[in-house]
Amino acid sequence: MAHNQRNIIDRTWDFFCSLKLTIITLLLLAITSIIGTVLQQNASPEEYIREYGQSNYELFVKLQFTDMYHSWWFVGILALFSANLICCSIKNFPRAWKFVTSPALIAGEGTLKNSVNRAEFSSKEEPQQLAQRLAGTLEKAFTKPTLTEDDGKLHLFAQKGIYSRFGAYITHLSILVIMLGAIMGTVWGYKAYVNIAEGTSTAQVWPRGSQTPMDLGFEVRCDDFTVTYYDGTQRPKDYTSDLVVIDNGQEVIKKTIEVNDPLTYKGITFYQSSYGPAGNASFKVQVKVRESGEVLNLRVVQGQNTPLPGGYAFAVTDYAPNYDRFGPAAQLRVNTPNGQQGAPFIVLQQFPQFDEKRAGIFSFTLAGYDEPPMYTGLSVAKDPGVWVVWVGCFMMVFGSCGAFFFSHRRIWICLDEQNGKTRVRVAASAHRNQPAFSMAFDEMKKDLAQTIENKA
């Protein structure tokens, strides 16, 4: 029984440590991720039903395809992936750590005899003295070696790039760090949006997917929103908002934000995201009563009925900054005293006499207009986990470069007396990219040979 239990634990452990599991989870993640790129995520039920039909939609909901990157099964694969990562690292890390805690200061006979990179010399010089000089050469050509005396033999050991043994572990750890940062962001942060009309301020934003606003704890005012265009084109160059942060009645920050240049205050960042008209355009309209010749100068807002003498009323229903290349134009209609709506007609600012020809009871002239005030649409984000994500990203980039482009290189030199001469045996190894190391070793061999000869 105990044996069986042991067996099951071992097998579970082996399962979580296996590289096959790694490959399969990676490929599974790759394949399943495709779903969310083909099927629109987080759309409204109506959209799915229109596109795919009721029964397919129900299937999508059941399989959580409509928000698949947060579905239990996708998160489950990620969890399996993490477990695999952790187990593999726990299993293999101690072996790598041993290279740090107990470096092989002394090469075994096997290494000295069978290493791919090896050399043997002999010299009449005293071992002790020769070892000192070889240590000097190694320090110049490679790095400072450690000298150990053991069993009447002298051993020099030098190593470089031991950190590259940890590249893979750092890369693996970085994935967990990034996931941790993402979780921190989800738990303690939020994404929201807010629209602020020019000249107004707000202390509340709307979290994504929520119907109730939340308090910022300070106020944000938008003084101005502007779209600029590249000269002579309709191609937008910049969307900018002049924002002011007001905390406790004090203006604390003033900044003109634009796309790619947000404003941050107390860990909350405001990004230029959208814009639109806030309210209606207003017009200066001159009305001439045809019979009496009376002239009225009125200021009216788009869509609002404005009373005229005799119980009549009129409204501006639409406008264009440049109507058919005739310049600014407004569309108007006149209501009769009994409330009947008249047919719409157009007045042009550049042609004040134009409306006379209509021969109505009133004739209208557009004297000027003001574009509606704009609102600026801001994305609001607070993410206390983002720095953790960046730490993870740094670890990932440096870890993978360390793992791929560097290797742990070691050189051993063993000096002993044989037949009244000093025998010098050299062995070297690199744990990765051996061909390149062999070339470097050949160069080093020449240096060592020269050092030995110079005295011999």
């Binding site: 590289l19 096959k20 790694t22 490959i23 990676l26 490929l27 993640l29 790759a30 991720s33 495709i34 969310g36 790129t37 083909v38 995520q41 990157y69 993402a182 994404k191 590249y230 191609r235 937008p236 160059k237 910049d238 969307y239 634009e258 796309v259 790619n260 947000p262 960042t269 990004y271 995201s273 994305s379 609001v380 984000a381 993410d383 983002v386 994500v389 960046w390 990203c393 990932m396 980039v397 993978s400 470069c401 791929f404 482009f405």
Partner: protein, 286 residues
């Protein structure tokens, strides 16, 4: 001297180089291999000058709004061709296997001819979303990564062709004919690995710079938009490849297939997402 003249020279250079590399495979003549290398190198020089000139021209045309030529599909495709040559020449310098050129130069040539024949080469000023220094870092890292994957894909195709023949004639003398000029499967496997070793950290850096930019511009470093997701899919496939090399039953053929699938996913990430799907990177399809 305009950039488009030099882009024409580039396309011609890559075409000539491709033909000569294929001729090398057929003739095994070292002289032919040399001509292939020289024309490829000349094409690369022309490509470099063309990109530089286009950069200069953008300032002449747009004044202060000039920018590095890495902002639309045309510019990215010619930069992709440039990157492929860069990575190829590095690999060729190290391994000196001219037959590999016959499987890599076609990618560069197809990129150039496609850009020149069917993509708009207008120099337009940047939309607000792209006005950021992150753009340059993001594009350069991604495309150098993509180029390394292109080289790996070409080598993997060679590997699959060669290993089939090798297994069939396991006990016969070394393979002659065209396949004889291919490097051994061991070397092909090594080049495949080295290329992906270059590409993978670059892709990682490309994803990271993209995330950093997204965070700076939109306030979210990851939003599962199709382009982001596909870049992650590519990353998963190559991560699987890198682990396959240490796993029994996954070395050799399967690893080569993973490399080819990885490049197919790369191309979909680069082009398919813009042309087929929609999302935040939609301006890349212009």
């Amino acid at each position: 001297m305009t950039s488009s003249l030099f882009f024409n020279i580039t396309t011609f250079g890559y075409f000539a180089s491709m033909v000569m590399f294929i001729a090398y495979v057929a003739t095994r003549s070292n002289a032919v291999a040399m001509i292939a290398r020289v024309t490829g190198g000349a094409g690369f020089v022309a490509n470099t000058i063309a990109i530089g000139l286009r950069w200069y021209e953008s300032y002449q045309l747009l004044g202060v709004d000039g920018r590095a030529p890495l902002t639309n599909l045309y510019e990215s495709v010619v930069f992709f061709a440039w990157s492929i040559l860069l990575v190829y020449m590095l690999i060729d310098f190290k391994y000196k296997q001219p037959s590999v050129g016959a499987f890599v130069l076609p990618f560069a040539f197809i990129s150039m001819i496609w850009a020149q024949l069917s993509l708009s080469n207008a120099i337009d000023p940047l939309v607000p979303a792209l006005q950021s220094n992150w753009l340059t870092y993001h594009v350069i890292t991604c495309f150098l990564g993509y180029a390394a994957f292109a080289v790996a894909c070409g080598v993997s195709i060679m590997y699959l062709i060669k290993i089939g023949k090798e297994e069939k004639h396991a006990d016969e003398s070394p393979i002659g004919g065209i396949l004889g000029v291919f490097p051994s499967t061991k070397v092909l496997d090594d080049i495949n690995y080295k290329a992906i070793m270059i590409g993978f950290p670059l892709l990682t850096l490309g994803i990271v710079t993209g995330a950093a930019w997204a965070n700076y511009a939109w306030g979210t470093y990851w939003s599962w938009d199709p382009k982001e997701t596909w870049s992650l899919i590519v990353w998963f496939v190559y991560a699987a490849f890198l682990h396959a090399r240490f796993t029994r039953g996954w070395v050799g053929r399967r690893a080569a297939w993973l490399s080819i699938i990885g490049f197919a996913a790369t191309i979909f990430c680069y082009l398919g997402v813009n042309l087929v799907l929609s999302g935040l990177h939609s301006y890349g399809g212009a």
